[in-house]
């Protein structure tokens, strides 16, 4: 029992060592952890009534009492960013995850089976690609009601086709490789081939594409907020959108702060995915002794 746990710990330690070699990725990882923590504990860090307008403090530039300034309703932007992180992160993970899962599955099935199934899936994907995304989301959300869940689903369901295309073309390329043919010769089931051989060899594209979709997802949510189709009024996207009307007044912090938050979060996701990509790439793994040997060394 203990040895199983030790092997697990060892694997984790090895993984971290490989991952953290990319310093951007390691930093981004901690950044995201910090961001998530702030989002979770925002209630305890900021006063309950952060949302209450305070006309006396409207549109104040950054100062000691408001390090990130105040918005057009006089609300402290630090609190807004912290609470806004909740929405943005939830949307990013949920919708991003949804589109990644659906897109990958669709792409894998289409690429592996070919023939009619491929035709079916890709034509279905084409439907979503020809209809403009935002109007489609609007229709879905207005029909199902403006809840966070609906917004998540709406965004996830309309964004998967491009991912499916990427995965399908990668799958097709892999299918031509001899090791896939050998798997068939050895009698591997379709499920095994798809999930153990096709999928792991495409993690590159999947990670990269998912992380690149994050900012798009966040901004789409912002647009929905703006149009009143999303429930929460505190989100980075919304902050960004409303601040644009006040540009003339020179209130750069009202746009810059939420914009920068979106940018840096998207960047963090991207670096993390790059780090994962490198950590999981066997070609970059430095020669190391077998786990058994490492365990034995540790015990000494």
């Amino acid at each position: 029992m203990t040895s199983e746990l030790s092997i697990y710990r060892l694997r984790l330690a090895n993984f971290w060592r490989g991952y953290s070699r990319n310093r951007g990725a390691a930093f981004s990882f901690f950044f995201l952890i910090a961001l998530i923590s702030i989002a979770i504990f925002a209630d305890y860090l900021f006063p309950r009534n952060f949302e209450a307008p305070d006309i006396s403090r409207e549109m104040l530039p950054p100062s000691l009492s408001n390090p990130l300034g105040t918005d057009y309703l006089g609300r402290d932007q630090v609190a807004l960013i912290a609470f806004g992180a909740r929405t943005s992160l939830i949307i990013a993970f949920a919708a991003g995850g949804l589109l990644a899962v659906i897109g990958t599955l669709a792409g894998l099935l289409a690429g592996y089976h070919g023939g009619r199934m491929e035709g079916l899936i890709m034509r279905f994907a084409d439907i979503f690609l020809t209809i403009p995304t935002l109007p489609l989301i609007l229709v879905i959300v207005s029909l199902t009601g403006p809840s966070l869940l609906n917004v998540m689903f709406a965004i996830g369901l309309t964004s998967w086709p491009v991912m499916a295309r990427v995965v399908r073309s990668d799958t097709l390329a892999l299918m031509k490789r001899e090791f896939i043919e050998i798997e068939k010769v050895m009698g591997a089931s379709a499920r095994r081939i798809v999930f153990r051989h096709l999928l792991p060899n495409q993690l590159n594209s999947i990670f990269v594409y998912t992380s690149l979709s994050i900012p798009v997802v966040i901004l789409t949510e912002a647009a929905l907020e703006f149009l009143g189709l999303a429930p929460l009024s505190v989100s980075w996207g919304f902050m960004l959108n409303t601040s644009l009307s006040y540009w003339i007044l020179g209130t750069w912090w009202m746009s810059f702060i939420p914009g920068f938050a979106i940018f840096i979060t998207a960047l963090a996701f991207y670096f993390v995915s790059e780090g994962l990509k490198e950590a999981l790439n066997p070609k970059l793994k430095r020669r190391r002794e077998s786990l058994v040997v490492q365990l034995a060394d540790r015990k000494k």
Partner: protein
Amino acid sequence: MEALLKVEKLSKHFKVKRTLTEMTRNAPRVIKAVDNISFEVQRGGTFGLVGESGCGKTTATKVILGILKPTSGHVFFEGDDVHGKLAKSRYKQVHREIQAVFQDPAGSLDPRMTIGQIIREPLDIHRSGTTDSREETARKMLDAVGLTAEQYERYPHELSGGQQQRVAIARALTLHPKIVILDEPVSALDMSVRTQILNLLKDLQSEFGLTYIFVAHDLSVVRYMCDHVAVMYLGRIAENCATSELYEHPTHPYTMALLEAVPVPDPLARKTPTSNLRGSMPSPINLPTGCRFHTRCPHAIDKCKTIEPDLLEVTKGHLASCHLADTFVTEAEVS
């Protein structure tokens, strides 16, 4: 004695996508990659399948392996039709007993798996034994193909081409198959490594009692490895006989042309390799009428242009598909 593998009147045709203009011109619709071939493979031997690229040898092996379905004809393994209705367990068994090693050593290994995982894969797929017994078998196979124990945890890209091919061979043998199809197993390897692998294959054959189907285009390798050879041209078998017969007394003009063209590493046998063949290999989409080889054959007569020759016995155990095969036999005997 019943042959271990019997290919009977096997054909595999591929549909061709035609453009509109081609359709109006009634251009051909199919590529007859494999057209009505038959041969038998005896237990314990090495059967060679020789031909230039495009002759259909790789397609034929894919049908035997079950990757492709035949357009017509059958492949019988121990009497059972490989593509027929078999009991589930027998079906699985048949497919387990026929394994393969392909040409590209790096391409046939999953770059994300360790060598140990790769060799264990067939056992994992079929869930034979316990995790421990599978690892033990895999390690034994690793040793049997001449790799070191520490390479068990390495990744394919850390190995040389020859070592990668050894891994592919080990993997093919893990399930103790009866037949191993070797499709150009050494073509992508350097000369000094080629013979190592060929010798390894020979040793493993006697150690594990294997039957090989050896597909290649290099006539010298085929002569070293095979005891029986079939020469393919544009989807058909031109000649099929024992190896020594093929090289000493060929009776098909294509075989004779191939042998004349091979450069021999002996300057004293000085003849610049020649070829008196005309033209070039026709495309498999537009096959010549009659004998497929007649457009290039220096001996072609009128009959060859219209009637396709059957694969017939010329001398005992020696088959050839040529109208003039008999004439070549007499010449050989005289000389």
